[in-house]
Symmetry: C2
Subunit: 112 residues, 2 copies
């Protein structure tokens, strides 16, 4: 399995791209920035993601300190995923990106 090694980044920016790369990563963070969610809720919300890929991505996030994984001893046990402090900071950055992209797309529309 992929292990996120913080030492390997000469450039901080590469750390960011490593974190958000992949088809589902940003969706996961955006979704968890609303409120914590369980595995099955995330899976439903990220329409089309497979268990395998969702699991892989959540592991990377957990290992890198972007999300918390909490197991509740219900029957069957349920698992809740939530953003850490640093995860919320990341979500804020993503919001500002979102604003830029909104303006960018808007200009495309009005110009063309």
């Amino acid at each position: 399995m992929f292990i996120f090694n913080f030492k390997e980044f000469e450039c901080p920016f590469n750390c960011f791209t490593e974190i958000i790369k992949g088809k589902w990563r940003t969706g996961i963070i955006l979704s968890l920035s609303q409120n914590p969610k369980r595995f099955s809720e995330l899976k439903k919300e990220l329409d089309g993601v497979s268990s395998k890929v969702l699991t892989d991505n959540l592991k990377v996030f957990e290992q890198s300190g972007i999300i918390n994984r909490t197991v509740f001893p219900t029957v069957p046990p349920s698992v809740e995923y939530s953003l850490t402090e640093q995860g919320f900071e990341l979500a804020k950055i993503m919001d500002s990106i979102n604003s830029w992209a909104g303006i960018f797309l808007n200009q495309k529309e009005t110009v063309n």
Copy 2:
């Protein structure tokens, strides 16, 4: 060849990830945010990129309005790549990401 279709993004954020995805894209933008560069200069600076991939990426950026491509009628003709207004805005966003990632990595170091 890949054509960047702005209409296809339900969510602006996807537009951003589409723009910066790939191994070399962010490097290209970061490099051009310093100063305009020619094809061969970029190729040298982005150590290891192939002509094919660099060409592909530059085309996507040009078509999406992130960079300008200017041909100078020298012999042999030289081609200069520079950021557009919107490209510079994107580079600013990337700077703020860089700051976040710097802090993030720093916390990792001091905690572990």
